[in-house]
């Protein structure tokens, strides 16, 4: 599509800024994802034909919704004419009846929330929730999602087709959950967003460039959610993602090696993201109903606040982990708390806590538990124990940069 012509530019701009909004409203008006997607394409095709002739409309979004709706109903009518049954015609008429209900700003914003909650409905498989959200809410292509998750495109396409079929056949409603159901349903949405973020941030595998895009996409989603539904945990999650993301430039060396928090060059941290993240955490903490994401963000904010690793307020961090354990007890959080205790009270205190977790049979296959144990043993001068634990961690490490870090640590022992 040539972008030199101003009308084409206007169509492109409308596509970038409004195609997801238009889609969200068309799904509500037409009651079907596939019909709405086809209508969306028809609407933009019509814009390319008509805007150069009639000029760019004053409200392009409303024009596109109207055009898409008209095209879809027209299509249904045409199909109905060839159909022996009368009900397809009736359906088309039903859709004609409501006029301009979509026009007001509020219901359009609600449509975007409806779309998010429908894509993240817990009745859909978790990987389908992620794929559908990236496809429908973020507008990524199936190929882009497949590439980012290292899944064959046909597998991913089928996942999306199945999810849409379930939405239609099991009749998953296109609605924002009631206040009573909101906490649980919001959790599902937050989980999807955080999963997308971590897939990009932790780089569990694959090319780094596409993965970074996933983190950026998750942050965009987080922002959209906060804008549409400023619940404390939505703000907490956005803060958490921003505070993690702020360290991206400092996390890896030029050669791609992992740099741990203690050794990072803090001048590389993104100050804007830290400022925004910290402000969001403070807001979320001050409101009722914050949860695990907000507390984790608060911990990240304490780190961000320390100008050097040595200046970290470990007592504050241990206190926050105590709150986090009460909100969301898990062995991984216990492990993180143990590391913070080691920083506050010395390695022996932390090691005792980690050994207690491992002796209980938890985290035996968790690389970071063994790596943390090795590190504390090393600091205590227990070289043999440190070696055993580093070797255990190395056996569990899947990523090349993680392996190199552990190999480096092992070499430093001798």
């Amino acid at each position: 599509m040539p972008v030199t012509d101003p009308v084409h530019e206007a169509v492109n701009a409308a596509y970038l800024s409004d195609s997801r909004r238009v889609l969200a409203t068309l799904i509500r008006l037409l009651g079907d994802f596939d019909v709405a997607e086809e209508a969306l394409h028809e609407a933009f095709r019509a814009a390319l034909e008509q805007w150069p002739r009639d000029g760019v409309p004053t409200n392009p979004r409303a024009w596109l919704v109207s055009a898409g709706r008209f095209k879809a109903i027209d299509g249904l009518r045409r199909r109905a004419r060839f159909d022996a049954l009368d009900d397809a015609g009736d359906q088309a008429d039903v859709a004609v009846v409501d006029t301009a209900a979509w026009a007001d700003e509020e219901s359009v914003e609600d449509d975007r929330l409806r779309l998010i909650f429908t894509c993240c409905h817990p009745a859909l498989a978790p990987d389908a929730q992620v794929a559908l959200t990236l496809r429908e809410v973020c507008g990524l292509t199936t190929e882009e999602i497949a590439q980012a998750f290292l899944t064959p495109a046909p597998t991913l396409a089928q996942r999306i087709v199945r999810a849409k079929a379930k939405i239609r056949d099991a009749r998953i409603p296109y609605e924002v959950p009631t206040r009573a159901a909101l906490p649980e349903r919001l959790d599902a949405v937050l989980r999807v967003i955080y999963l997308v973020f971590n897939e990009g941030y932790a780089a569990s595998s694959g090319a780094l460039v596409t993965r970074h895009d996933l983190s950026a996409e998750a942050i965009r989603l987080g922002r959209l959610l906060v804008e549409l539904l400023p619940e404390p945990e939505a703000r907490g999650l956005l803060a958490l993602m921003l505070l993690h993301e702020s360290r991206r430039a400092a996390r890896t060396s030029a050669s791609g090696d992992v740099i741990l928090l203690d050794d990072q060059d803090r001048s590389l941290w993104n100050r804007d993201q830290i400022t925004e993240g910290t402000r969001l955490v403070e807001g979320a903490l001050a409101s009722r109903g914050f949860g695990p994401y907000t507390i984790q963000a608060a911990i990240a904010a304490v780190h961000a606040d320390a100008s050097t690793a040595a200046a970290t307020d470990w007592a504050e961090i241990v206190g926050l982990y105590d709150i986090l354990l009460r909100a969301d007890a898990s062995p991984v959080i216990e492990l993180n708390r143990a590391v913070a205790v080691a920083m506050r009270d010395g390695p022996a205190a932390g090691l005792a806590l980690i050994d207690a977790i491992l002796q209980r049979g938890d985290l035996l296959d968790y690389r970071l538990a063994h790596a943390a144990r090795a590190e504390l043993c090393r600091r205590l001068g227990r070289t043999a124990d440190a070696r055993t634990s580093y070797e255990r961690a190395l056996a569990l490490a899947r990523q090349e940069p993680d392996r190199r870090l552990l190999e480096r640590r092992l070499a430093e022992l001798s």
Binding site: D169, I172, E175
Partner: protein, 111 residues
């Protein structure tokens, strides 16, 4: 729209929920206009499987279930959408002992 709520329970938990409670639940659904039909089933040991192959009827003992849970009963309900159906299913007493599978009913196509 109709949904079939299939109640699954482990063999030893078939009697864990008192019949009285299940009857009260069914009555409640019926009074609210949600219920089309509901029944509890005898244990899977009483089941017989019927197949027709090449016009011949074959009869075997029981279904060959690999899962620990077995079908213990069903509620056929009328609900606006899946969210409503999930609401109703969560009120079925054996949900706390076993699980409820919520399946939308498919309209047969006369063509």
């Amino acid at each position: 729209m109709k949904y079939l709520c299939l109640v699954y329970l482990e063999e030893e938990k078939l009697r864990a929920v008192p019949d009285r409670e299940c009857m009260a639940c069914g009555d409640g659904f019926r009074k609210s206009g949600l219920l089309v039909a509901a029944e509890a089933l005898q244990p899977v040991a009483t089941a017989t499987t019927v197949r027709v192959r090449n016009g011949k009827v074959s009869i075997t003992d029981g279904p060959f279930a690999e899962t620990k849970e077995q079908l213990a009963g069903f509620y056929l309900i009328e609900a606006r959408d899946l969210n409503d159906a999930i609401q109703v299913a969560s009120k079925i007493p054996p949900a706390r002992e076993g699980s409820i599978e919520v399946r939308p009913v498919r309209q047969l196509d006369p063509q």
